[in-house]
Symmetry: C2
Subunit: 139 residues, 2 copies
Amino acid sequence: MKATRIAHLAVATADSRDLLTVLGHLGLAVTHEETVADQGVRVQMVGIGPDQLEILQPEGDGSPISRFLAERGQGLHHLAIEVDDLAAVLAHLQTQGVRLIDARARIGAGGRRIAFLHPASCGGVLVELCEREEPTSVG
Amino acid sequence: MKATRIAHLAVATADSRDLLTVLGHLGLAVTHEETVADQGVRVQMVGIGPDQLEILQPEGDGSPISRFLAERGQGLHHLAIEVDDLAAVLAHLQTQGVRLIDARARIGAGGRRIAFLHPASCGGVLVELCEREEPTSVG
């Protein structure tokens, strides 16, 4: 049941250029980019050594990210923690009364199985759980 | 000049118990705790595999963390990026017009040399730079 690492840290911004400029001065650049259409979000991943920063920009109005920007403004958005068996963790959290946004795993950026916990149960922090990916087998 | 990793991710909360309860369900616990008196903040570090989550609680009124909680509410507070030579990075960022909160390194939690960049230059994100610690020499 133990969490294995921070999978990524996500930032919500209306325009990622300023942040990417500063990261560029630190020798960092976008390593992967995709649109998650059902969430209306453009995702840019920036590798920082072994770690990942996920930059989220809204595509169109009415997406969860546009609502976040309207309510909270730009800044840090969520913390993603990697776990081994997401279904087992979600079942356990539910029995413990932890409030879940996603009671079942769904597919997020990069095709990974994810689920969000509600900030009300996490001291105001939006926490995503990501299932650890199996290493790709050879041959 | 390249950043080497995410040193830690920090959360600001009035009371860390809810978050620590959820983290406990994921097999995680506080691994280090200290008060940084000149910042009026209680710091709890939670190791998540190789990564570090820093939970910040105010000690008394008028501290930067109490002001943050009053203005923004509980949630993610800052992202700390590890760099090799903090003085060189700060000098470079200054020539590039990046707005710095700390123009010179100061001592943060754990006795590390740190400096904060201004969110206005970083797409709304409060970014801390931490100097990489030298491995302790033997003998």
